[in-house]
Symmetry: C2
Subunit: 203 residues, 2 copies
Amino acid sequence: MARKTGSHSQITGPKIQEAALQLFARHGYAAVSMRQIASEVGVQAGALYNYVPDKQTLLSQLLVDHMQALLAALDELPVAPDPKAALEQFVRHHILYHVPRPDEVFISYMELRNLTPDNHARVAALRQDYEGRLAIVLQAGVSAAQFRVPDAKIASYAIIALLTGVVNWFDPNGRLSAQGVADEYWQMVAQLVGLQVANGGDT
Amino acid sequence: MARKTGSHSQITGPKIQEAALQLFARHGYAAVSMRQIASEVGVQAGALYNYVPDKQTLLSQLLVDHMQALLAALDELPVAPDPKAALEQFVRHHILYHVPRPDEVFISYMELRNLTPDNHARVAALRQDYEGRLAIVLQAGVSAAQFRVPDAKIASYAIIALLTGVVNWFDPNGRLSAQGVADEYWQMVAQLVGLQVANGGDT
DNA sequence: GTCTATAGTGCGATAGAC
DNA sequence: GTCTATCGCACTATAGAC
C-alpha cells in the first residue's frame, strides 16, 4: 500500500470523474482548478491529461452522462395504464433518481452556461427529451379530461421545477426518507393537476 | 460628448453594478474578471476600485440588495384578510417581482457558494426570512382547514421552487404577459394546496 | 502512467502620475 | 476619478524523463 507512483489506469479514471463532480458542484466549474482535482485524486495535474483531453470535456462528459443515465432509467419503467399512473410514475422516478445524486443535479442546472455551444446543445437536447416526457403525460391527461391545468407545457415546467427543488433541502438524516418525500410530492402534484386526493396518506 | 477621461462618480458606480450583475449572471462570478467588468463599463480595471473594495464585496452587495428589495416589496403589500388571499398575494408578488429581474434571480441562487461564510450568512438569513413568510401563510391555511398539504414547510419549498422556475422559461415576447403567467401559476398553486378552482379563468 | 518543469497567459489588487 | 504600469501569483496545457 501507499506506494507513491505507478500505473492505476483502472482506478484513476473514475476517481477523476468523482472528484471533478464533487468539486464542480461545491465550488463551480470556473472556480475549480485542474490542480485541485488532481490533488483530490492524489496525482499531479499533468497526469489528468492521460484521461481527459481538457477541462471543458470533463465537465461536458459529466453532464451528458447524467442526462443519459436519467433518461435510460426512465425508459426502463413499465408502461403506465393511464395518465394518472404515468404522472405518479414520473414524479416518483424523478425524486428517487435525483435525491441520491445532488451533485449531478446541481451541476446539470448550474454549469450549463460554462459549456461550449456545441456541448451545450447536446445537453440541452437530452434535457428537452426528458422534460418532454412529462409534457406528453400532462397533455394526455388534459385531453382525457383527467387533469385540469391552465396549460400542459407550463404545468410541465412548474412540476419539473417543483420536483427538482427537492435536492435543495433534502437531508438523508432528516425526518423523511426519499420514499416519504416522493409520497408527499406525489400528493402535491396530484392536487396541482386537479386530481382529488384521499386524505393525508394514512397506511 | 465622447470625452475620454474625467470624473463620473454619479454614473460609474451604478454602471459597475449593472455590468457586474449582467456578466455574473451570464458567465458566473468566478469566470468573470474585473477587467471584463471595467471594459463593459468603459473604464480601466484600476478605476473600479474607487467604487468597490474588492470583487467579493461587489457580488455580496448585489445579492444583499436584491433580497432586501424583494423583502421590502413584500412588506409594502396590504394585509390579506385570509390565508387564501395571502397565498394569492404571495404568488403574484413573487412572479411579478422576479420575472422582470432574471439576472438578479439567477445569481441569487447560483452564486451563493461563491460568497465568503459571513456574506453567505447574511444572504441566507434574508432568504430564510422571505421564504418563511410563505411557510407562515401555508401553516395558517392548514390550521384553518382551508388548505390541504402533506406538510406546510415542505409545501413552501415546493411552491417557492415552482414559482422561481418561471424565470427559466419566461419570454417577454411570448404568448403570455407576466400577469398572464401569474394567473396561470396562481391556479396551479391554488390546486396544489387543495383549493377548489373555478374553470380556466375566462373573463 | 506519473512525475517534474515550464511556456504562455491572465488574474486581483495596488501605486503613483495627471 | 481615471489612467498606465506593475507586483506576485495562479492557471491550463504541454514536453520529456523515468
